[in-house]
């Protein structure tokens, strides 16, 4: 625990986020949505001129970006541009060398790991499997909220989340015996029961087939809309990102090249960032990026 002042702040922040999280609870759902429209302009998580370096190599330079409630933000850009690094800075898995991350009004660097985890959930790109059941793996998401004992409330949340994710029938299967797509779903489910207001996903669709990609992104969209939280995810598949995200951050050389919405994604932009010529065509009112032959 940090000093008294910080502690007070943290407690406040926790209560605040808890209120938001209550949207899990059906009764507060409608209210949550009014809240969303009123409050939409307020950034939920904000990175303010974040810098990061591995040794001498500067990976992130002056990154400023934010995400609001009900929003999915996609971080895009070529391999090795620092997308995952930025994502890890956003919940202090990597400590930024400069700049600040705010959740609401709170500076993340002044919060304990546990308090950060109560507000920000993280799903890694690759997930380790162990001889644990799906149920217990998801229950692990309650870790930041757990005392010595698991409460009935914790179990309730896990049961609900498992049902929502279509995992109830396989809750007692060991995660070292399920497929990669199922494990991915379990890990997202684990982050959901963590009750975060911001969800960080590192390439949630990598190594999944087309139908699994759709499935997991629909679930994420559903969670963001229903719980009125926010999601930041790194992606390689531009068309999937265009379909499911609201806001797009294009990174180039460790810097932000452009932040835009769906309409801002032009062939010129893609060529600047990825260095290949593309057409952006419209298919059922949805832009699709197609590389030129």
């Amino acid at each position: 625990m940090t000093g008294d002042h910080t502690h007070d702040g943290v407690t406040h922040e926790h209560e605040h986020s808890h209120c938001d999280i209550v949207h899990n609870h059906p009764h507060s759902h409608e209210k949550g949505h009014e809240h969303h429209t009123d409050d939409g302009c307020h950034a939920l998580l904000k990175a303010d001129s974040v810098e990061f370096e591995y040794g001498a190599a500067k990976v992130l330079k002056d990154i400023t970006v934010d995400v609001s409630r009900g929003e999915i933000l996609a971080i895009l850009g070529p391999n090795g541009v620092g997308k995952s690094t930025l994502l890890k800075c956003m919940n202090m898995i990597l400590k930024p060398k400069g700049g600040t991350i705010f959740i609401g009004e709170m500076d993340l660097s002044k919060m304990s790991g546990r308090d950060i985890a109560k507000n920000v959930g993280y799903v890694a790109q690759r997930n380790e499997s162990a001889r644990m059941t799906i149920f217990d793996t998801v229950l692990l998401g309650r870790k930041p909220h757990l005392g010595w004992k698991v409460t009935d409330h914790d179990y309730e949340l896990v049961y609900d989340a498992l049902e929502k994710f279509g995992l109830s029938d396989m809750q007692l299967r060991y995660i070292d015996e399920i497929s990669g797509g199922e494990l991915q779903r379990v890990c997202v489910c684990r982050a959901i029961v963590q009750e975060p207001s911001v969800l960080l996903l590192d390439e949630p669709t990598s190594a999944l087939d087309m139908s699994r990609q759709m499935e997991i992104l629909k679930l994420i969209r559903h969670v963001v809309d229903r719980h009125n939280c926010a999601t930041i995810m790194t992606m390689h598949d531009l068309n999937l990102a265009l379909r499911f995200a609201d806001k797009f951050v294009f990174m180039k050389g460790g810097k932000i090249h452009k932040i835009c919405d769906r309409s801002g994604v032009t062939p010129e932009l893609i060529e600047e960032v990825y260095g290949i010529a593309v057409d952006v065509i419209s298919h059922n009112n949805m832009p699709i990026v197609v590389p030129k032959f």
Binding site: Y155, L172, S211, F244, N284
Partner: protein, 405 residues
């Protein structure tokens, strides 16, 4: 949940692609998850009690119940083995007499009462405490280093502690040396001896953590580091042996054979105290270990301070190794084998793995000691000889089969 809210939920799901009729159709016909969600909503609305959830709860409870049953079964077998262990030996005592003597409390004057209270019970309890301690140290090390081959013995902690204790006993006169196996070394300053052993095993811990930090805790790195560290301290021990006189040389050699017969009641008390404190700490951290199992970054995302968990887990393991080695000598393989046996039975969930491993360690060392005392009667083997015979093949098996034995 009311129907209205559920409907709203469905609408929300479709929101992002609302303008897209084709998509909507696709979603309803092809997407399994959304279908599921909707089906379940319908199910639930028709059936407000939520029988599905009810069934899930039952399933999970019965699953957890099975784990607890396995653990309690282990405790029962250990208690039974405790009685058997007390009853067998050079003087065979029928189990009813054993029970009545234990019920009667200490202080009896008959031969049997004295044998039971002064020799057999301390020895059996020492086996239980030391076995539990070594097993818990093993499971903690395997978890925090994320390495299936970690244990106090394989990573050289035991050898380091032995060297430290030997230095304490022989150079700083913290112990008196005797000429037979049971009295090979009488430690008259347990704090100095254990302290020396602890300092050396902590030094080893620092080396291991440094290697982990630089090279990562892969099985290969850890085994090589273990070989290096073990031979370093074996060399140190050899040097000490080279310079001492014959009597001390003999006694230090005897002392190295791990044997649970050495501990008296007061030493047993000290071992138990350290083991209980460390085991409680490790059990308290069970969720942290589960989180670390899921990957370091995931654990950090769940608010676990991985670095601190790792260091504290290693300190607890070092403390246990130091106290056990100081009083009983080197007992190998219990810390390596027990977690693997229990992973097979109760899985990797540390909520069950830690207590199960603890009991497994107690039972294994108790059985090993009982067998060692009787297998070539009237001669008595030190228990470490037996655990090594048992452990080496299992160790090789783990190397061949990979993590899950």
């Amino acid at each position: 949940m009311t129907t209205e809210e559920k409907n709203e939920e469905i609408n929300r799901t479709e929101d992002p692609v609302e303008n897209n009729t084709e998509d909507k159709v696709e979603m309803k016909t092809e997407d399994p998850v959304d279908d599921n969600t909707e089906d379940k909503v319908k199910e639930k609305t028709e059936d407000p009690v939520g029988e599905k959830t009810e069934g899930m709860v039952e399933d999970y409870k019965s699953y957890v119940g099975k784990k607890y049953t396995a653990i309690f079964l282990g405790i029962a077998v250990t208690v039974a083995m405790f009685l058997v262990s007390i009853s067998v030996g050079s003087v065979s005592i029928p189990i009813p007499d054993v029970i009545s003597t234990i019920m009667g409390g200490p202080g009896g004057t008959s031969l049997i009462e004295r044998v039971i209270w002064n020799i057999r019970i301390p020895q059996a309890l020492t086996a239980i405490a030391a076995g539990a301690g070594l097993a818990v140290a093993g499971v903690a090390m395997q978890s925090v280093l994320r390495n299936p081959l970690a244990s106090p013995f394989t990573l050289g902690l035991s050898n380091a502690a032995a060297f430290g204790a030997a230095v304490g006993i022989l150079i700083f006169d913290a112990g008196m040396t005797g000429s037979n196996m049971v009295d090979a070394v009488v430690i008259n300053n347990p704090y100095l001896t254990t302290g020396m052993a602890f300092i050396l095993s902590m030094l080893t811990t620092v080396i291991i953590l440094a290697i982990t930090k630089i090279r990562g805790a892969t099985p290969e790195t850890m085994v090589l580091a273990g070989v290096a560290i073990s031979s370093l301290f074996a060399a140190g021990l050899m040097a000490v042996q080279y310079f001492v006189d014959d009597t001390r040389l003999a006694s230090i050699v005897f002392w190295q054979f791990g044997d649970v017969a050495r501990a008296s009641w007061s030493e047993l008390g000290l071992i138990t105290l350290v083991v209980v404190i460390c085991a409680l700490y490790v059990f308290y951290k069970r969720w942290d270990y589960n989180a670390v199992d899921a990957g370091e970054e995931t654990a950090m995302g769940l608010g676990v301070n991985v670095e601190r968990t790792r260091i504290m887990g290693m300190v607890a393991a070092s403390l246990i190794s130091a106290i056990v080695v100081s009083f009983l000598g080197i007992i190998g393989f219990v810390g390596l084998v027990c977690p693997h046996m229990m992973r097979r039975i109760v899985g990797d969930d540390h909520r069950f793995l830690i207590p199960a491993t603890l009991i497994c360690g107690s039972l294994l060392l108790l059985v090993a000691d009982t067998v060692a005392r009787t297998i070539i009667a009237p001669h008595i083997l030190p228990v470490a000889v037996l655990t090594a015979f048992l452990g080496a093949p299992v160790f090789i098996y783990i190397i061949i089969k990979g993590r899950r034995i």
